[in-house]
């Protein structure tokens, strides 16, 4: 029994001065979103890491791995009877532009092979045949072996039983940069989702700003929604910048609809926002959350096919790789951007993203510490 059960609770008294304003239901949401966007815009480092860095990365990697003519094969022919015939055969072959051959004495030629200067050494056996010295462990040596053999056989008069034609395929859509840009987009959505939500929240918790906010009548759900919304606004800019850059600078072709790409971007941004929220749910210090965020992101940088295809990993781990959220996002973005796949065909990937985001969000809300 308490005293207050007898006495009526205190009435809400008239304010001491007439209120100048009356806020609507969503005033808090809009102001948090506005404040968040202002803070981001006023933080030059953030602008660089979110927008500038991915473009620099695309530019650097796009130039480094731009499509060059296939490398020249460097070979040596050991100076003996038949060497000049071999040289002539190579120089007059239709594919001679790809093979650079020179005649050298045996010792120099074999030393050059060992040092990697030559991809292979051709040694005439004196009976109109050749011996090939090559290194089966070096891809370019194996390639060279096949090419040179082909040329020499053709020069000696081999007739191919089936006529074949080769078509060079380095059109936009199949180049490295085309593979790279959707991967960078996915990675960027992960980075900025994790940092933009996870880091920002722990920073606010450490500064006791979260505690100060919950000391007001602020709706906590609105606050988290405003943070997520700020991610969506940024996502829009990130997608537009990176794709626009790919299209303008690398003449990338976007086959899928922009609406589908934005939808995937939004699902990705929100899913990683949820994971970011989970990483930030308890950490008290920005140092500890930084470690956590890197721990979560590191496997995905490596396995999720940002810079190279994850198909290179052993088949047993591929199902696990495909279950990672960034793999799902990258696969869906690539299929949509490069192949024009429909959203419906990406429902598996979308499901993976929604599950990661949804489960993280539920756990985060349960564990989240405001103070």
């Amino acid at each position: 029994m308490t005293v207050a059960q007898q006495a009526p609770p205190a009435e809400i008294e008239e304010p001491t001065s007439a209120p100048a304003l009356r806020n609507g239901r969503w005033a808090g949401y809009w102001h948090v979103l506005l404040a968040r966007m202002r803070e981001l815009q006023r933080e030059p480092e953030v602008v660089f890491w979110v927008f500038g860095f991915p473009i620099l990365l695309a530019l650097g990697l796009g130039i480094a791995f731009r499509n060059k003519p296939a490398d020249l094969t460097n070979i040596a022919i050991i100076d003996s009877a038949g060497a000049q015939d071999a040289l002539a055969g190579i120089e007059h072959s239709p594919g001679q532009a790809k093979i650079h051959a020179q005649v050298l004495d045996s010792a120099t030629a074999l030393k050059g092979l060992r040092l990697g200067k030559f991809d292979m050494v051709v040694e005439p056996d004196g009976k109109a045949g050749f011996r090939y010295h090559y290194d089966p462990a070096r891809p370019e040596s194996v390639l060279s072996h096949a090419e040179v053999d082909d040329v020499l056989q053709a020069a000696a008069g081999r007739k191919d039983p089936v006529p074949t034609t080769s078509i060079a395929n380095s059109e936009p859509g199949s180049r490295y940069i085309d593979f790279l840009i959707p991967g960078l987009l996915g990675m960027n959505l992960m980075n900025s989702g994790m940092w933009g939500i996870g880091f920002a929240l722990v920073d606010m918790r450490q500064r006791k700003l979260l505690k100060r906010f919950v000391a007001t009548p602020m709706r906590r759900g609105d606050f988290l929604m405003a943070l997520a919304s700020s991610r969506l606004v940024l996502m829009f800019i990130e997608v537009a910048l990176l794709l626009g850059f790919g299209v303008l600078f690398f003449h990338m072709r976007v086959l899928g609809s922009y609406l589908s790409i934005l939808f995937l971007g939004a699902v990705g941004a929100v899913a990683f926002g949820g994971i970011g929220l989970l990483t930030a749910s308890r950490a008290q210090k920005i140092e500890s959350v930084s470690g956590l965020i890197n721990l979560v992101m590191m496997p995905m940088w490596i396995f999720s096919g940002v810079f190279f295809s994850y198909e290179r990993f052993p088949a047993v781990v591929i199902p696990f790789i495909k279950a990672l959220p960034l793999t799902a996002l990258n696969d869906a973005l690539r299929a949509t951007i490069l192949e024009g796949a429909s959203l419906a065909s990406q429902s598996g990937q979308l499901l993976v993203l929604i599950l990661w985001g949804g489960i993280s969000f539920v756990l985060a809300v349960r564990w989240f510490r405001w103070t």
């Binding site: 308490t2 207050a4 006495a7 009526p8 609770p9 205190a10 809400i12 008294e13 304010p15 001491t16 001065s17 209120p19 100048a20 304003l21 009356r22 806020n23 005033a27 808090g28 809009w30 102001h31 948090v32 506005l34 404040a35 202002r38 803070e39 006023r42 933080e43 500064r207 006791k208 700003l209 505690k211 100060r212 906010f213 919950v214 000391a215 007001t216 009548p217 602020m218 709706r219 103070t371």
Partner: protein, 310 residues
């Protein structure tokens, strides 16, 4: 009318071991300015954060404006203004933007311009929070508490680390809020602040209230309103506290490494007698001052420690 703030047998244990608050009860009437005074680590912040509904007590009950924190926390928060001990507001937002952000959380806030005017922040309206001085930041923190037009203002060590001028500015703001009918609960470890601002105060030590009353009451309980402090050569030749205790008008004596302080009722009767004793002992006075008794004396008398010693 229900008390503005009421709590009974408040307890808070951290991790089941450290008892920060151990059975604390308070009743603060509307319109009062109430101070929680005590050294660092006394449990002031834990207490005020429980009252603010930011920490759950381990035991005990809290009522704010007649409501518990379980009733309708959001409704209650509409009527409270809170300034935490240390909040680092976003540095890249301007003063106006920060106040408007906080205003947006309340149903019927005051206008940002009016609050800035009152807090003398109008000049800094468009300056980023990162560029403000300590005093300006503290005024901004109080501005974010006042913008919701609260009935009760909670201030946790509002003037710690401020220069004297900034402290006086803040005192003015608190007085103004109280004069317009608001209730204030503040914590401080500054005696002068408590004496000047608070109608009533509670001295807190080790999580319990060791004395409560108006500043004048508490000083009265010392027995004497005046303090005579002195030291003599040879520490009074081994003369203990007892010699000085028997001087006329002395209520109590403290010996702090040879510096004696006497709580006295009438210094004009005590001091001549004191000089006479010193003379008889052929000792010499090294130091002699008299002053009004303060809350610091109350605290030292109650705990044997100075406030700042913690």
């Amino acid at each position: 009318m229900a008390p503005a703030i009421e709590c009974r047998n408040l307890r808070k244990t951290y991790d089941g071991k450290l008892e920060a608050v151990s059975g604390l009860s308070l009743e603060i009437q509307p319109g009062e300015c109430f101070g929680l005074l005590g050294p660092n680590g006394a449990g002031k912040t834990t207490t005020i954060e429980i009252l603010e509904g930011l920490l759950a007590p381990t035991a005990g009950e809290v009522k704010i404006l007649g409501h518990t924190w379980q009733d309708n926390p959001r409704e209650l928060r509409e009527r409270l203004g809170i300034s935490l001990q240390e909040t680092r507001l976003s540095e890249k937002l301007s003063v106006r933007e920060t106040i408007e952000l906080f205003a947006s959380f309340y149903c019927q806030p005051r206008s940002a311009s009016e609050v800035m005017e009152q807090m003398q922040l109008t000049e800094k309206a468009d300056a980023w929070v990162g560029k403000l001085s300590g005093g300006q930041r503290q005024r901004l923190a109080v501005a974010t508490a006042l913008v919701g037009n609260p009935k009760i203002l909670f201030l946790d060590e509002p003037t710690t680390g401020l220069d004297p001028q900034s402290r006086r500015q803040l005192w003015e703001i608190v007085r103004h809020f109280q004069q317009s009918g608001g209730t204030v609960l503040l914590t401080t470890h500054y005696m002068d602040e408590a004496e000047r601002l608070c109608n009533r105060l509670a001295i807190v030590d080790h999580g319990v209230i060791i004395a409560e009353g108006t500043p004048a009451d508490l000083i009265d309980r010392l027995g004497g309103h005046h303090v005579v402090e002195f030291s003599v050569t040879g520490n009074g030749n081994g003369q203990g506290v007892e010699t000085w205790r028997t001087l006329p008008g002395v209520e109590s004596v403290r010996d702090e490494d040879g510096l004696f302080s006497l709580n006295v009722r009438e210094p004009h009767r005590t001091i001549p007698a004191l000089l006479e004793v010193v003379d008889q002992q052929k000792a010499a006075l090294l130091h002699l001052t008299t002053r009004q008794a303060s809350l610091e004396d109350v605290f030292v008398n109650l705990t044997g420690r100075h406030l700042r010693e913690g």
